[in-house]
Amino acid sequence: MYPAAFEYHAPTSVKDALKLLGKLKDSKLLAGGHSLIPMMKLRLAQPKHIIDLGKVKGLTGIKEEKGAVVVGAMTTHWEVESSKVLKAKIPVVAETASVIGDPAVRNKGTIGGSLAHADPAADMPATAIALGFEFVCEGAKGKRTVKVDDWFKGLMETALKDKEVLTTIRIPAWPAGSGACYMKFPHPASRFAIVGVCAAVTVDKKSGNCTKVGVGVTGAGTRAVRAKGVEAALLGKKLDAATIEAAAQKAAEGVDVQADLQGSVEYKAHLCRVFARRALEAALKRAQG
């Protein structure tokens, strides 16, 4: 399987990458390549120009910064999975990265590449929504920051503009007393999420009430979404089994569930509810230490 011919460009700075992006018609950014290259090999994508971000300086690394962890967009899934900073501060991000694809994918695929590609069955979008990731995009006119609720627009469509590069991902740290968990039901062949749910909760130590909650659902629909109904049913409540169970029942609301060989709409909506419950139960356990 050989891709159609293309020109390869390897800029070393964001500025140069943006210049190329502005100048070249029919170009695609390469950020790891585990989605783009298979599509090119099948000739489903035939871009004339590939702008490889792999040699651009300053796009990798994970560091703590003012109540957040900042991750360079070209940081590989493996680096995210094994990051000491993330494991200490926001372990669910490392946990999510650890179930992406297989080691080969994680060694080359990047967090920014995946979040910009926005595959509807990718894992990290659920966690991005649950925790409230922020996306720093750089274009000819400078930088802007997009909140996760504005990021996923549709099937493989994000707020990233044609002539922009996603450079940085800011992951806010959650307060003490928080716990989060990502759980997925993997496709038996591809290991993408048939359904994946990330749940994050903060529990007030004194009252035992839920003071903050985030639930993201991926896989079932054409894009990852926030399970607003679930969140609303939990916020301010005491998180007992019945409350969680009742809240999880709302997990498929707002998901445009798609039927395919792996299940009917009914089945996948059911899985959303099952995995919401399981992720919430695990998140609560972690929050309670």
Binding site: A5, F185, P188, A189, L261, Q262, G263, S264, H270, V274
Partner: protein
């Protein structure tokens, strides 16, 4: 004198593995010839479409293109042959390049030959085919339906054949007297073989000599040569050499003669340059022969005590768009003749209809017919147990054919060699600790957990096959094997075998055999296979035949070598040949251990015959052809324990246990490996694999969609063996290549049904048991 250690029957590490695991194997795609061109095929994107026009003008102008040919250019080339003819079989033409119409997605219509792979592929994209899209049919049970589109002129109702075996009247009578007749629909879904190495070929026509050399991913290079030379291209066989070097797996799919190697072999002569083609994985999904694909109505009658009184089977078998090389044999002689299983069944009748559809051709895939038979029987026996409220272990014990050592005549033509089915099953039950499991299951069920156990007791026909028998059944070939042993002047031994190793480890097992017979170290033995230029005519490897048939051919030549060696030694020792015995690599006078000559000296004498027996030919080289007198019938008993997640329907395999009886074992580690891999494939069919067509389009056409079993789906296997040597061949080996694939699928299905029994489930028609399917079954269950 040191005793040479015996190696046959020991777990000798595979000699071929160092080169494979260090990337130093030589596969077809590794062969490099100067001036080689690369081919890409233009294929039909439609399941069924008439070819109105093929415009190659733009493609021909593409830089680097050498030539483009369509079906019209290949006048004088014949249809790919069908090698097994059933009475009344409709054999439609299967032209290497379709010229009139495409009948399945992936049907090749043009070959583009260029200087590079990318040029060939780019230019192939520029070939414009004008299609008239026709209605397509892909579902097995819809092929002959009224109004289904006709696929071939010769088969008006899309029926390729109808065929039957057994005694219909006897079954009718048995059912009249039966206490209970259980009837089930059983679908054995379509599978894709997916060997690790995709198919590939490299064809070179030598203008100077007129010789054609074809390197091809083949399990049987001689069969490839014969079919291509004699039937398709019309080239004399002695001008064709087929080489199948290292081949990375086949599972049956590399037995057959395919369009691509035929076209490349023809094209190299046209362009006078070598032509190479290597399949992409996507092409492999679309064009490698698929397996299984049966829709069956089965009825099994029982008396009040659970004894089987009769079996009636009606099967529709999907042949796909064309008849692949051995396709008609698979759902008939390799399937229905196994429907006696390991049970005493007084009356059996099977009726099989083979149908054409707009899908990839179906042919032998690991097990080939035998897994379908075992799956059917094991489901029906369990369904019978459920209906009669009997324990699935007890119903099996009640029906096993009692132990026999030399022959059991079945109701469906075959005569089993030797068997002790209850022994294997008893061993399995002990390994499982069956009664204990049932207690655990009871406790788990009280907690609402869905825990289940499934059994599968199977038989298969290996050592394929007695030529006279298969000839009378429609085979257009004999199924013997060749083995040539050449002893070199310095005592080294080269063995030329018609068997072909594509994962089986012949270089090790055959070396073990030679080392033991001749008393020489394995290191001085070389096994050569896969080259028609070097090896006597042979039939290749499939149907678990290499040890039993190929091994015996080698053994026969080794015995001839020893006999000749005795004559030479007798001369040197001034004794009579009848007084010479061969032991530990020494020819010695019986009773006089000091009076001996080593093997090496005899070998040297054979080639430097200065002091030599009168009238004896020099040289030490013998060839044998072995045609087995019967099939061999390995058997065994497997068990699977599963738990089902009530929330998701996900099946988790907790335990997998296997007791196989493959007769004598040449290398236990290699047999274990075959059993392990086979079980994975069988579990794969039960739980996740399945080729799915939607309106003629293969929607599971990539590794992202088609779920092969993965290591984390499988537990550590618990395996053991019983040993019942076959009387058929002197090695006593029965064959081990397919047992796991045959046994595992029903064991898993039976376990899932057992787990769901508290919900009132006693049967699931269709595989694979994906989480979503199991969830649907649970949802619509009675309780």
């Amino acid at each position: 004198m040191a005793t040479v250690e015996r190696v046959l029957g020991k777990s000798i590490k595979r000699r071929e593995d160092p080169r494979f695991i260090t990337g130093r194997g030589t596969y077809v795609d590794d062969v490099r010839l100067p001036g080689t061109t690369v081919a890409a095929f233009v294929r039909s994107p439609h399941a069924h479409a008439r070819i109105k026009k093929i415009d190659t003008a733009a493609a021909l102008k593409h830089p680097g293109v050498v030539a483009i040919f369509t079906g019209k250019d290949m006048a004088g080339v014949n249809s790919l042959p069908c090698g097994w003819l059933l009475p009344g079989l409709k054999v439609p033409p299967h032209m290497p390049l379709a010229a009139d119409a495409a009948r399945c997605v992936g049907d090749p219509v043009a070959i583009v030959i260029a200087e590079t792979q990318s040029a060939a592929q780019d230019a192939a994209d520029k070939v414009k085919v004008t299609w008239e899209v026709l209605r397509a049919v892909s579902a097995t049970d819809q092929a002959t339906a009224k109004g289904a589109p006709q696929i071939h002129e010769v088969a008006p109702s899309n029926e390729a054949f109808t065929w039957q075996i057994g005694d219909a009247a006897a079954v009718d009578a048995a059912f009249r007297g039966a206490a209970r007749v259980v009837k089930k629909k059983i679908v054995n879904q379509r599978l894709v073989a997916n060997p690790m190495e995709p198919r590939a070929c490299l064809a070179r026509y030598d203008q100077a000599t007129g010789d054609l050399t074809l390197w091809v991913t083949s399990q049987n290079p001689h069969v490839h040569r014969l079919l291509m030379a004699a039937f398709v291209l019309g080239i004399p066989e002695h001008k064709v050499r087929v080489i199948a070097p290292d081949v990375g797996g086949g599972f049956g799919s590399k037995i057959f003669l395919y369009n691509e190697e035929t076209i490349c072999s023809w094209a190299t002569k046209q362009i006078k340059r070598p032509v190479r083609w290597t399949s992409t994985r996507r092409e492999a999904f679309q064009t490698d022969a698929h397996g299984r694909d049966h829709v069956t109505e089965a009825e099994m009658g029982f008396d009040a005590h659970g004894k089987i009184v009769g079996l009636r089977v009606k099967t529709i078998a999907n042949m796909g768009a064309y008849l692949s090389t051995f396709a008609p044999a698979v759902p008939t002689y390799l399937y229905a003749t196994l429907l006696n299983g390991v049970y005493t069944i007084p009356a059996i009748h099977a009726h099989v209809t083979g149908v054409f559809t707009n899908t990839t051709p179906v042919d032998a895939y690991r097990g080939a017919g035998r897994p379908e038979a075992a799956y059917l029987l094991e489901r029906m026996v369990d369904a019978g147990a459920a209906a009669l409220k009997l324990d699935p272990a007890d119903i099996r014990k009640k029906n096993f054919i009692p132990k026999f050592d030399n022959g059991f005549q079945t109701q469906v033509a075959l005569n089993y060699d030797s068997g002790n089915y209850a022994a294997a099953f008893d061993k399995l039950l002990a390994m499982v600790d069956y009664r204990k499991f049932r207690h655990e299951q009871e406790a788990a069920r009280k907690q609402g957990r869905l825990l289940g156990i499934g059994f599968s007791t199977y038989i298969e026909a290996c050592s394929i096959a007695p030529s006279k028998v298969v000839g009378s059944l429609g085979a257009q070939a004999g199924l013997y094997e060749s083995g040539k042993v050449r002893v070199h002047p310095t005592g080294g031994v080269t063995v030329y075998t018609g068997s072909h190793s594509h994962g089986q480890g012949h270089e090790t097992t055959f070396s073990q055999l030679v080392a033991d017979e001749l008393g020489v170290p394995m290191e001085s033995v070389e096994i050569v296979h896969g080259d028609t230029g070097a090896i006597p005519f042979g039939m290749g490897t499939y149907g678990s035949r290499s040890g039993a048939v190929g091994g015996t051919a080698i053994l026969m030549s080794l015995q001839k070598i020893k006999e000749k060696g005795k004559k030479i030694a007798a001369h040197l020792l001034e004794a009579s040949p009848s007084d010479i015995e061969y032991t530990n690599g020494q020819f010695q006078v019986k009773g006089f251990p000091g009076k001996s000559v080593p093997f090496g000296q005899v070998a040297l004498t054979a080639y430097v015959p200065h002091n030599y027996p009168e009238g004896l030919e020099p040289g030490l080289e013998e060839t044998s052809f072995y045609d087995p007198s019967n099939f061999c019938f390995p058997f065994g008993a497997h068990a699977c324990v599963v738990e089902i997640d009530r929330d998701t329907g996900q099946v988790k395999v907790l335990r997998y246990l296997a007791v196989d009886d493959v007769g004598n074992v040449m290398n236990p580690m290699i047999v274990d490996g075959m059993v392990h891999g086979g079980i994975a494939q069988g579990v794969g069919q039960a739980l996740c694999e399945g080729a799915v067509y939607d309106d003629g389009q293969l929607v599971t056409g990539s590794m992202m969609d088609y779920a092969l079993p993965k290591a984390d789906m499988l537990p550590m296997y618990e395996t053991d063996r019983t040993v019942t040597p076959t009387p058929v061949n002197p090695l006593g080996v029965k064959g081990a290549g397919e047992t796991g694939t045959i046994a595992a699928t029903p064991a898993v299905m039976n376990a899932v049904v057992d787990a769901l029994a508290p919900l009132g489930v006693d049967h699931i028609e269709t595989m694979p048991l994906t989480a979503s399917r199991v969830w649907s079954v649970m949802k619509s269950a009675k309780r």
